[in-house]
Amino acid sequence: MRLWEFIKNIINTIMDGSLERVRIIRAMNENFQESYYSGGIDRLCRVSIGAGDPEFAHEMSSMWVRSGFRITIENDLGLADSEVFEISDYILQNKSFIRQLMALGFDTLIVQGKVTRRGKLFCLKSYSNLNEYMLH
């Protein structure tokens, strides 16, 4: 095997899915910022990777410290539960996006306020309609 092929294989193994994760998170953060600046949304959200709930794990999950898809609400003063559920609904109702997240190793959606830490965890596999194909 040529040296270059060998190095490419190593990079692919280490970075498997990571670049796609980074691209998705960057695109979402840019769009959240634009929407907040233009007045489309009142809560500024920031997307990042966090620790997921081991109970929500599935076959495609990454290790638990990077299996959480975290949405942090930066200005969370007076954040109501209904707002947390509303934000999560926009993700959980989009089946193709959930499947994409699961394929990238995420198993938990975390929506929480930055200061109050008030929020909720959602199990992605419960919303993907893939139950009959999942082992656990």
Partner: protein
């Protein structure tokens, strides 16, 4: 030795550039989620008003409106889908 290193760095850079600019846009759904969060609610309310079945007297239009209204309800969190339905509403109900 020096040119060898330069070539190697060039190849690594080209490899990562190619990986970052893939043809298939994997961020489409992610962008749609954020757009939905900021714009879907307004469009949903507009469409609900536009294609509410009670607005129409003719049986044919009422049926079309019922169908569109159901689709609007089903896709209330999906901005892309609502945009497509909006075009259909403009074509078939105006």
């Amino acid at each position: 030795m020096n040119t060898c290193c330069t070539n190697f760095i060039k190849r690594i850079t080209a490899y990562f550039e190619a990986k970052f600019t893939k043809d298939k846009d994997c961020t489409k759904d992610a962008v749609n989620v954020v757009e939905s969060f900021s714009k879907a609610k307004v469009l949903y309310k507009t469409l609900c008003k536009k294609c509410h079945p009670d607005r129409f007297v003719e049986e044919e239009k009422k049926l079309i409106a019922e169908n569109l209204f159901m689709r609007v309800q089903h896709n209330r969190y999906d901005y892309e889908a609502l945009k497509c339905i909006s075009d259909e509403v403009d074509q078939s109900l105006d």
